[in-house]
Symmetry: C2
DNA sequence: ATTTTATGTCAGCGTTGTTGACATTCCAAG
DNA sequence: CTTGGAATGTCAACAACGCTGACATAAAAT
């Protein structure tokens, strides 16, 4: 949808896609992503963690009881890489790993209370920045922002993630 | 332009900033950034380089003759970290490092022809994806996209970069 | 001329990505 | 039931790229 109405989008609407415009978009993405991760990074550093720990905490919270396998599909890293991060989180008591009931090879992952607390702190910092950016830009800009981001994702990965969430209900 | 009409943005427009909406934005940022870097990453891997090399090539092209010091301010990394990357690029003949004329401590950095060629290949891959996303979302969405990204940056870093570009003219 | 400051290089460490080897568990074939 | 293969997760070792510390060189200040 939305592509049918190309009649209103004349050739002049494609002209604005100069290399210079695209370059500005690319650089904006680079600088913005740095801002986007800056606040959580500071909190993580205090705890001796890195960005990978944040991602794990985030998605374990999002999909309570998920397995290691599910998680690494979403995160797009190898299980070995994820495992190192999980090991420290489990050792520090932020994540609980229970052996699967139906399949004993699987591990179901849950946040403990301390885990939820740290996740909340990280999320809040990131949400604060996102909220400030949203407010400064306005609702219409936000809609555009989301549209462009969703077009920029690897469709494959994204659909996988969506499917994963739905499978869990 | 466009920002003057804040009168049309009532309180109800702030209500949409639920935690759930913000979370979606955060995840979109995460997935989109992965898509954003995926194509260049593949090309870089073929050459035995990483993302850091891409960033260096990009900004050396953008600001021809820039110094190491300028570059690491833009990139937001330590000079030691940047140096490792620069060393390989110089050794491989993609970047030329000339001793500064006015200040012999400085090194002015330039892309060689092979350097320009790789940079072009990387940029094109990234621009292709950005262009596709822009086209799919439409001009208005693009404007919003840029607005939100710019609000999300660390002002300090961004202003530094802008100032840097202007100082160079 | 000597000390201080600025720029860039070299060495070594930590996080987090990678591949390879392996233990455990499940399931299907015989 | 047993055996062989597939799936899940863990352990080990390596590479990319952040970081701090130590240092050489050049410029600037005293």
């Amino acid at each position: 949808m939305g592509q049918g109405g190309s009649g209103t989008l004349g050739g002049e609407n494609l002209l604005f896609l100069t290399d210079e415009q695209l370059r500005k978009g690319i650089e904006a993405m680079f600088f913005a992503y740095r801002g986007f991760t800056a606040d959580p990074d500071r909190i993580l550093a205090e705890h001796g963690y890195g960005r990978a720990h944040h991602r794990a905490l985030h998605f374990i919270k999002r999909t309570h009881g998920t397995t290691v396998n599910n998680l690494l599909n979403v995160l797009g890293v190898t299980k070995q890489s994820l495992n190192r991060v999980l090991r420290t989180l489990i050792a520090d008591g932020l994540v609980e790993s229970r052996i699967g009931r139906t399949d004993r090879r699987e591990r179901n992952l849950y946040l403990t209370e301390p885990g939820r607390e740290l996740e909340r702190k990280l999320s809040e910092a990131q949400r604060d920045r996102m909220r400030a950016a949203y407010r400064a830009a306005g609702p219409q800009a936000v809609a555009g922002f989301r549209q462009v981001l969703e077009s920029m994702m690897d469709d494959e990965i994204f659909r996988q993630y969506i499917a994963l969430k739905e499978r869990r209900t």
